[in-house]
Symmetry: C2
Subunit: 348 residues, 2 copies
DNA sequence: TTGAAAGCGCTAACAT
DNA sequence: ATGTTAGCGCTTTCAA
């Protein structure tokens, strides 16, 4: 490097190319409006000085940052990992940068993130809200005038574009699958009550039961949160029931919960499906490739990301009406013979 | 909302509280230097107007943004997912925002990200470089004067703090494990040659073989990239060998490659370890919980993130010398009896 | 086709 | 304890 100053401004480039800062700005933003020879001089100066425009200054004056944010509720969930990919692709095609945030299902962490992002003047937000309480947080965003799109989870009273899955339908199908196999006592290991997906998955589960003339048994419904340890604990709790009340099948409302449940079963030397059947909402990616024997309802995660991003960019371009658009994507039942029996045998 | 203007500036707050903008600024940045009564008036105005400072303006004048970036090479790899968690925790404790980027092992995508981030004037960077070529990209960062820390992958000739794993050692242990089980013909399914971790894992593999008087057989070494499909393809290629040349064991240098390899084996109706043994570098998280029978070398991913972030913040605080610090974390061998035999039986 | 002036929202440095 | 001034790096507007 020849330069001593690490920070190169548009003025430095202008001086080197013997033009005004305005001309440099034009070369960057509308090259056509600059004479070819001048342009070349400027471009050379930019190269030589390794000039990188200061996006803070540009954002300040233009009022736009060409940046959107994506806040997911759990970055370690393969579902969201795929959503991220979808969003990134669409954003890149539109020339936007994505700031990715992970709320870890924490309302407080989510609020902090959103505040920081508003402060950074992002142009728009894609968010899988941590809980129903996120409404207040989203109101901050509306107030700022930034558009946002809800992903995976709708929130009552929030009027915005959204891309969600048919959680009631998926849960109904999955529970129906168990019922059609002859199960009558089906347990539900669910996420937090106030997470919209959990609420709907429970609704679907109960609806399917009632349709078959079965009254949901509160003792068979355990609600905690979408985490592996909770799945483990919930399963233990279910196993503590007297044998005649114990369910013959389990519906885990999330992939992590299912994995936790299987671990608890294994610890208790019980086999899936020999001793107890198990299905879950959302696929488990790598795991289902390795041990392809768990029946699941799988969601088109990538589409969640691409459609939501599409919606957001349309709002940013202003070429869409006032009324919110709500897309509900249909999950797909993937029937696999459950694993577990063999695992236990081998573990012995 | 009573306000019509969506954009609230410090001037608006100042007017409402009947003070100067400077006083508002002081209330926000050094509350102690403002009289309690004044402060209260200002704080109330801030509340009422829902004022959120413009970080673009602040960053422009202060020359710091309190933002760092983390670029990982594959966001869908559970290893990096855990790294993200570690980084986020340390950043949050230090009052920094994290911009997460996913280069998807693409050098070009990485370069674009870094340029955008420099333009946004991030204070520092944590990066798992896509390849050895990333050096030029990192030079841009040094030139800007921003510190960065390498995660997971060191790069020749780059002088910076780094947190990596002992890839040679881990691969040696893993290969040694297979040798100790009596295997003599061991295949390697590896990532890209120019990815530092892949290069070192191969070195460890070859070192272990040589130590046991075995000359590595090029026909048993397949190098592609760290992706499931490539693992599948590589395994197919190995299975195409005449029986007497076919390896009795496989070392997959990455979790994704291992999963792909197992899928190929299953498709060929071959069982692990009955027909062929398999071990891999990096654990497979959920999958190993579900089917806990694959021997792996597991890395302390969280520590990769926390230590790297720690290093970066120390540089930002300036309380550390010029010479780079290099930490090499030791992976842990987790011996599990391999799955596969049962899978195939069940699949039949 | 190019440049000069003004200002985006904030804070450092210097008053008062 | 509070206010005034100037300027961070860029672009918009207007002028030449």
């Amino acid at each position: 490097m020849h330069e001593l100053s690490v920070i190169v401004t548009i003025q430095d480039v202008a001086a080197r190319a013997r033009v005004s800062a305005m001309t440099v700005s034009r070369v960057i933003n509308s090259p056509a409006r600059v004479a070819p020879t001048t342009r070349q001089r400027v471009e050379q100066a930019i190269q030589e000085l390794h000039y990188v425009p200061n996006a803070l200054a540009t954002g300040l004056v233009k009022g736009r940052t060409r940046t959107i944010a994506l806040i997911v509720s759990d970055i370690s969930n393969p579902f969201f990992t795929i959503v991220v990919r979808g969003v990134e692709d669409v954003a890149q095609r539109n020339g936007y940068t994505v700031i990715l945030g992970n709320s870890d299902e924490s309302f407080e962490k989510e609020r902090q993130y959103v505040t920081a992002l508003l402060s950074k003047r992002i142009d728009g937000l894609l968010i899988a809200p941590a809980s129903g309480d996120s409404r207040a947080t989203l109101d901050m965003v509306s107030r700022r005038g930034s558009p946002y799109v809800l992903i995976d989870r709708d929130i009552d009273g929030v009027i915005a574009d959204s891309v969600t899955g048919d959680n009631i339908g998926g849960a109904t199908i999955l529970t129906g699958h168990l019922l059609s196999l002859g199960h009558r006592r089906i347990g539900l290991i669910n996420g937090q009550r106030d997470v919209p997906t959990a609420r709907d998955r429970r609704r679907g589960y109960e609806a399917a039961l009632r349709e078959h003339g079965i009254t949901p048994d509160p003792a068979l419904i355990i609600e905690s949160s979408y985490r592996r340890e909770e799945g483990y604990r919930a399963m233990q709790q279910i196993l503590a029931l007297p044998l005649e009340r114990r369910p013959t099948a389990i519906f885990a409302s999330n992939n992590f919960l299912a994995v936790g449940a299987i671990e608890a079963l294994r610890a208790a030397n019980l086999a899936v499906p020999a001793d107890i059947a198990l299905v879950c909402f959302d696929d488990i990616e790598l795991a289902s490739a390795l041990d392809p024997f768990l029946t699941v309802v799988s969601q088109p995660a990538r589409s969640f990301g691409t459609i939501a991003a599409q919606f957001l960019f349309e709002r940013l371009d202003g070429d869409v009406g006032r009324q919110p658009r709500r897309v509900v994507l249909t999950p797909e039942l993937i029937v696999r013979r459950s694993c577990g029996a063999q695992l236990v045998r081998r573990a012995e």
